[in-house]
Amino acid sequence: MSAHPQHPAHIIRSDAEAIEVATRLAKRFAVEASARDRERRLPVAELDEFSASGLWGITIPKAYGGAGVSYVTVAEVIKLISAADPSLGQIPQNHLGVVDILLQTATEAQKRYYFGKVLQGYRFGNAFSEAKSKNAGTFDTQIRFHGDTAQINGEKFYCTGALFAHLVPTVGNNEDGQAFIAFVERDAPGLNVIDNWDGFGQRTTASGGVTLDGVSVPLSAVIPAHLAFDQPTANGPISQIIQAAVDTGIAVGALEQAKIYARQARPWIDSQQDHGWQDPFTIAAIGDLEWRVHGTEAILAKAGEAVDRALAEPGEDSVAHASLVVAQAKVLSAETALLASSKLFELAGTRSVTGKHNLDRFWRNARTHTLHDPARWKYHLIGNYVLNGVKPARHAWN
């Protein structure tokens, strides 16, 4: 992967244009989504098309030349793409999170520089998570400052997007345990992106490892990312709403297939009907899935509005409220994606498990992506606010 995009990206000007472009791209991405999954064929050409469409720059504020779309729109865009191919929906999730961390913590010059790059079509990957550190929020990777450069050493995993990125934002801690993000060029000496993601779902996200061995960047390529959580900002909810949008997309895609295959299913012998779609229990089960998917979409939109408010007026209360509504979207999208992708087989019958249909990709993708952070703690987060008035902890998973 070169450190520069091959072609300059289109610049999207409005929320409506973003939705229109995403709808068009989703149709194209859907065509070979199953084949890419089956062959674990990485979506290199599709990603070039995706970022060249301008959709990776829609959150850049108008003051910096972007469209500054609402997070209702961002969630809708990611949902549309994920309904077609959730691996493609997931790949920009850290890119979009990083755009916001820049907005929250970078200097004016850094914002102008990196936002300019994104509008030209540069893609950020990520080297954030570590498989061996104590928990998701701790980092063994070190960043050390010497004069006007910073050195990074460490080992990362779950680095979605890094393989396809032009710049790899990398989290490391300084001596005091504060997290910084260094923007490392994809072809920088010492940066090694390892294509070793072998998960059974989200197979073409290339969410594998990154090693950093004495990687050196100028200070101008480092931002004090910890500030995004030391103070109340929308960054945690932004990170999370994109997760919820991917899973909502999987639910939408699975329900669509459930209806197609349920329409073709043979009637069950005891139903005494001529067609599977006349089965009263099938009909009721589709009714149940429909309201759940629509409810998930409705809460996802409310989460987008809450994120927009937290961005416009950051504060303890607005950020806590955004975390709460986004947590609802996380719970519902995880539940609905898993339910729809499982019910799909029940309603379509045994023939739907035939390998050629590859319909299991919906469940595999739902199960894999919903593990990003456990929904069980989201019920707790919401309940602790409702019962005890305790605001959610501020980090990238709330």
Binding site: A284, E290, W291, G295, I299, Q328, Y379, G383, V386
Partner: protein, 108 residues
């Protein structure tokens, strides 16, 4: 009284009973119930502008399920159960069929 209003009232009275709980299972249970009430409210709001002919029915299902969940939680956490209004004249089970037949078969 609508199902959603009653669900909220039951949650409110049950909440007073267990206020300031530190039990993680009680806490997460309330998180779950809050989601059920909020998703029903969001679907009623959606039904106000959504052109689909079964959008309101979908919201009614969500509200009925939220009410059942709230009533179960009330019983489990307080040992009491507030009587619910009769739903015999507007049975929940037919609503799934109405919604499903529209979305699967285009039949109203």
């Amino acid at each position: 009284m609508t199902a959603l209003t009653l669900a909220r009232q039951l949650l409110d009275s049950t909440r007073r009973h267990v206020e300031n709980s530190t039990d993680p299972y009680v806490i997460s249970r309330f998180g779950d119930l809050q989601i059920r009430v909020d998703v029903a409210a969001a679907l009623f709001e959606r039904a106000e502008t959504h052109p689909g002919p079964v959008a309101l029915t979908e919201a009614q299902i969500a509200a009925a399920e939220a009410l059942i969940a709230a009533s179960n939680a009330e019983f489990e956490l307080t040992g009491q159960r507030t009587a619910l209004p009769s739903s015999l004249d507007d049975p929940l089970r037919t609503k799934y069929q109405i919604v499903g037949n529209y979305h699967l078969n285009g039949v109203l």
